[in-house]
């Protein structure tokens, strides 16, 4: 059966000192064998939602003011957008905010990805990176900050490191409801479609972890930010233990405790932050 998907929207993106306002409208047609995507101003949509308010410029200015030499912003992309979707007879609208920041200090790079403009984790990462000392071996127990745990979860799908659940949401990439369920094995029930130009793929969405306990040992060193993209269960992390700040590489083999938060992060098909003891 041929599936027709339409999307249109605006995005304002702040990148490399530029402000880019982009408006697009496109259509994707998939008959199971051939996927086609092309710009198409759809007559089916009504008036287009207005451009986002433009808070991104303030976010960029704040981050730039926080990063002082010898730290340097290596990459900073802030965007906010609004999109209208139509798949078959299902229609829905979403608003998005994204922050991607990479800050360099000597041979280290802190990376933070956010789906909102709350910069508390960015401020903390910048402060700690400026005080970082030499690499240390992995501590026996580590507390992962919510943004770090969220980055890890997509890599743990299909492993027995922690029990993973898909959280409910109104729509997936085909407009279907996202059902809350425990994730065990593929095929995944829902579809991920980051753009109308991307062929949708089955993927677990809005991940959250469920551990045997929510008793977090607060005396354990805390990992506050990624220093490299997650590779399987291995993470290079910026850690803090009392007044000591150090990089360390951790292979997460078991999650001992997890305390969920409601903050959503744009890793994979989305994941919720959790304070996590590993």
């Amino acid at each position: 059966m041929t599936e027709v998907y339409r999307k249109r929207g605006h995005v304002v993106r702040y990148e490399h000192g530029h402000v880019l306002r982009s408006s697009e409208s496109g259509e994707a047609v998939d008959d199971g064998r051939l996927f086609r995507a092309y710009p198409n101003p759809s007559p089916a949509f009504g008036p287009l939602s207005p451009l986002p308010r433009g808070e991104g410029g303030d976010v960029v200015a704040e981050i730039e003011s926080l990063v002082q030499a010898p730290l340097a912003i290596e990459r900073l992309i802030v965007s906010e957008g609004v999109a209208e979707h139509e798949c078959g007879d299902i229609r829905w609208t979403e608003e998005t905010k994204r922050v991607h920041i990479a800050i360099a200090h000597r041979a280290l790079r802190v990376m933070v990805d956010l789906a909102d403009f709350d910069l508390a984790e960015v401020r903390r990462a910048i402060d700690l990176l400026s005080r970082v000392s030499a690499e240390r071996p992995a501590p026996p127990r580590v507390r992962l900050a919510p943004n770090v745990a969220a980055a890890l979860l997509p890599s743990l799908v299909g492993t027995n490191v922690v029990e993973l659940w898909q959280s409910s949401a109104e729509h997936d990439g085909k407009g279907l409801p996202v059902i809350e369920q425990r994730l065990t094995s593929a095929p995944w029930p829902n579809w991920f479609r980051p753009s109308y130009r991307s062929r949708p793929v089955r993927m677990p969405l809005h991940l959250r972890a469920v551990a045997p306990s929510d008793d977090i040992d607060v005396s354990a060193p805390e990992a506050v930010a990624l220093l490299a993209p997650v590779a399987g269960n291995v993470m290079h992390l910026l850690c803090v233990d009392g007044d000591d700040v150090f990089p360390s590489t951790i292979a997460v083999e078991r999650v001992l405790a997890s305390r969920a938060t409601n903050r959503w992060y744009p890793y994979g098909g989305g994941s919720f932050g959790a304070e996590m003891l590993v």
């Binding site: 993106r13 990148e15 490399h16 000192g17 530029h18 402000v19 880019l20 306002r21 982009s22 408006s23 697009e24 409208s25 496109g26 064998r33 051939l34 996927f35 086609r36 995507a37 092309y38 710009p39 290596e74 990459r75 360099a104 000597r106 041979a107 280290l108 790079r109 130009r197 062929r199």
Partner: protein, 304 residues
Amino acid sequence: MEYLFSIAARDELWSGGVLIESRASHGQARCRGNEIDAADVADSVLIERAESRMSVMRAIARDMSDARVRLVASARRVNDFERDEASMSVTTIGGVSVVISPGDSLPLRLRSGQAPAGEGLPILWRNGSAAVLLHEAAGHAAEHNHKTEWPSWLTIRDEPDFAVDDASNETRATDLTQEPPACMRRESFRDVPIPRMSTLVARQYDAPWSLPDERIEVHLLAGGAYEPLTGMVTLSIAVADRIHKDDVTPLGPFQIRVSRERIARAIVGASGEPLRYPGVVCVREGQEVVVGSLAPLMLTTELV
């Protein structure tokens, strides 16, 4: 400065001679200083030009029953200056990838061997493949103003083959051992233009040349990367042979990971005119651009 950038593009994926994905894209970006207003406005002239570049490539893709082929053609206009681009990325069943332009023939060797590369052998970079080595170690390093001392007989330049870049500037050649590339490029109307390499050309002038009997010969690479914080270069070698006098042993894929300074010190000889490597799809800041790559036969000491 104010200018209008317009583009039309077609991107297709073929598998086993059958079209499985096709994407059309077009739009324009009105640029004023650091403000860009972009919209998917159609330009029928550019659309026709991009589509016309596809027909030759489609005929080739249709005949490649044992590979995945990605075809990309675009036509762009910056104010009044127009230019086209087209490339084919071929990935064989064995996983070896190569980027070629329409009209190019495929490299003769598209299959890896199985033997381990071993260690300690000098490397002969055939087929212009030294351009990929220098793309990472010199070109990307230059983008970060990282300087390295290269052999005095070697020049490494970015030489754009078009007159106006994607930000409406006149292009110029740059010495990548001294300065970053000057050419601003963007993948689409919805991208910010950033300085990128366009065509890397390495040349040798009276370089030393003595070919050892025992060596590795590199023919094709699967990819490469430069880490600006550490200066480390990673190269994935896809097709290579180990040579011992007249014996040729095809090698399995292997990786080289060394600093750019070590690469500069390891270059000990070169011969002949620059050879055009099939092509490099360079991804930076999420934007894919094709970078032309030419280098002479080049000899390095061991890097594995």
